[in-house]
């Protein structure tokens, strides 16, 4: 096993760059085979009329033009934006309030933290989605509880104005992971800052606005970006609880994309919708990063 540089195969193998490539190999293969190749295929199909069963027919920009005249697509886009831009800030506000409450450590803190985090841990599951569907049904738990206190319930899932809110509440309910991230970031703020502020005569309220909040902005920014993207891509809850009903008032982008691709056999159109969605997510991320310099604190402590 001698090559021309006089190294044995074993020696060749034990060079840093060779070892590097070998150890990174799973990712290199995975990235090409399960990301790059599918994306290329779908890019091609997005310019085709394709229904899985028959061979694709190239139709140019037709799929993309169709989107802008498709009123259901426009509705889905509007609903998704509404959902993401309402649920994400609410989620972060709750996460922040609870993190501030739990920051004060007592013997019960562990128990409280568990209570607030538990819903987030299982909230994405189908089990919770079917529970939610039953809770907000006309004869469901929420209406029965409201009836006990003398309030007449509504058909929460049947009215366009309330159906979306059942999904928003479900999303806000899962503020736990943001809360944990805020908590760990709160702990990193040096106590001396608060001591100095107290000596200068500031109260808790002023300390929050002048010290805590500015120093938390990098964490808030990170959470905002991640949660907004996730909000934009929600699928399971909508698919199980409302299926976009009533009157498309809860039709999420992903659900509509799924329906077009697999239920209405317009897979080429679905592929085009996936590309537009990617562009929208990228655009939102870019805009958020562009606003970063106006409100995110980037100095040291």
């Amino acid at each position: 096993m001698e090559n021309k540089k006089g190294k044995t195969f074993k020696e060749w193998l034990n060079q840093e760059h060779v070892a590097g490539y070998i150890c990174a190999l799973p990712f290199i293969i995975g990235f090409l085979a399960f990301m790059v190749v599918p994306m290329c295929i779908s890019l091609y199909y997005s310019f085709c009329d394709y229904d899985i069963l028959n061979p694709p027919v190239f139709t140019g920009l037709k799929n993309f033009q169709r989107m802008f005249t498709d009123t259901r697509w426009l509705t889905a886009l509007r609903v998704t934006f509404y959902f993401a831009f309402v649920s994400t800030p609410l989620r972060l506000i709750f996460a922040m309030i609870v993190a501030l409450l739990l920051f004060r450590s007592t013997k019960m803190t562990g128990v409280y933290r568990a209570m607030y985090y538990l819903p987030s841990m299982i909230g994405g599951s189908v089990a919770v989605a079917i529970l939610w569907k039953r809770m907000f049904a006309v004869d469901g738990t929420v209406n029965i509880l409201l009836d006990k206190v003398g309030i007449r319930g509504l058909a929460w899932l049947g009215l366009p104005s309330t159906a979306i809110w059942t999904l928003i509440i479900l999303a806000v309910w899962q503020f736990g992971s943001s809360m944990l991230i805020f908590l760990s970031s709160l702990k990193q703020i040096p106590a001396r800052l608060y001591e100095a502020a107290s000596i200068d005569g500031s109260n808790k309220w002023q300390q929050f606005w002048k010290i805590t909040l500015p120093l938390m902005t990098p964490t808030i920014f990170f959470n905002l970006v991640m949660q907004l993207i996730n909000g934009f891509l929600a699928f399971t809850q909508c698919y199980i609880i409302t299926q976009g009903k009533p009157l498309d008032s809860t039709l999420f982008y992903t659900v509509y994309m799924y329906q077009q691709s697999f239920e209405f056999s317009s897979t080429g159109y679905g592929a085009a919708m996936a590309w537009i969605m990617l562009a929208i997510v990228a655009l939102i991320t870019w805009i958020l990063f562009a606003t970063k310099k106006f409100w995110v604190y980037d100095g040291g402590l």
């Binding site: 760059h17 150890c23 399960f34 295929i41 538990l118 959470n223 691709s261 592929a271």
Partner: protein, 281 residues
């Protein structure tokens, strides 16, 4: 002054506890309802504790659908989640080592690609991947739910591992190298044993995500006997099936049991995973 502070503490605890109870109320309600007689669940919805405690819902629910019992669904879920998790952890750990320790020309490019996979959500890839797996003839098999995970496609875990390996002092590697370790034995003898906490964190998250995964199963699994639990639960919602809410809540409760067990036994790793790397629950 003292009394005022005590009063404040009491108010604080009442407030935090009350709000916490509201948070977990839906879950407690579901678990309690699964022990009620199925036709009394909504009549007695306002009472948390069942008047007639029964396990009947678990027996009816367990029978499953179309002759396929929940034992089968749970076995399917367990198989998919465990095999995919083992793949994720092994591949992410090796790739993390290469990103954190080894210098090679394409490393910055590959690292950037990994960050892109972190930002690129599964939903965007849903249709592209479906078309590709369909070409490969993988639809109606478990392959799309398992094979990709053996190739470190979840950037989150690679990122977690890379960060963790970077935290291990390099002196250890150097010492091992002097003692005659190759780059590969440094990984198996030094890095791997020291990254056990990160491996546990990654295993927990990966297992829970695979267990809850609904979208991929919905796309690729069509035969009822191959359904994982998440997909089987959906059958309770179908208009064609009779609405046995007791059975539905019983099986839903069982389906969140693994997550609850992990939560109560390994909470420390969960909290660490989220607060240090932003892994979402």
């Amino acid at each position: 002054m003292r009394a005022k502070r005590t009063a404040g503490t009491i108010i604080y605890h009442i407030l935090v506890l009350a709000f916490g109870l509201i948070m977990i109320y839906p879950l407690v309600w579901m678990i309690m309802s699964s022990f009620k007689e199925t036709d009394t669940i909504f009549m007695t919805a306002a009472n948390l504790i069942p008047t007639h405690f029964t396990l009947q819902n678990y027996l009816t629910g367990w029978k499953g659908f179309a002759g396929v019992s929940f034992a089968r669904f749970f076995r399917n879920s367990l198989f998919i989640s465990v095999v995919a998790t083992i793949g994720t952890v092994i591949s992410s750990s090796i790739v993390g080592y290469s990103f954190a320790r080894l210098k090679f020309k394409l490393r910055p490019v590959l690292f950037a690609a990994m960050l892109v996979t972190m930002m690129l959500p599964a939903q965007v890839l849903m249709i592209p991947q479906y078309l590709w797996y369909q070409r490969l003839g993988w639809v109606n098999t478990y392959l799309p739910l398992i094979v990709p995970y053996w190739f470190a496609i979840q950037g989150f875990f690679v990122y977690l591992m890379t960060n963790f390996v970077e935290g291990i002092p390099r002196d250890l590697d150097e010492a091992a190298k002097i003692d005659g370790c190759s780059y590969y034995t440094i990984y198996t003898r030094i890095i791997l044993p020291l990254t056990v906490p990160a491996i546990i964190t990654a295993s927990i998250f990966s297992f829970m995500w695979r267990w809850d995964d609904f979208l991929a199963a919905l796309l690729y699994v069509n035969k009822t006997e191959m359904y994982p639990v998440s997909l089987a639960l959906k059958l309770f919602c179908d208009p064609s099936s009779s609405s046995d809410y007791g059975a539905m809540f019983a099986m839903a409760t069982l389906s969140i049991l693994p997550a609850l067990i992990i939560f109560f036994t390994l909470q420390r790793y969960l909290v660490e995973g989220i607060s240090t790397s932003g892994l979402k629950g």
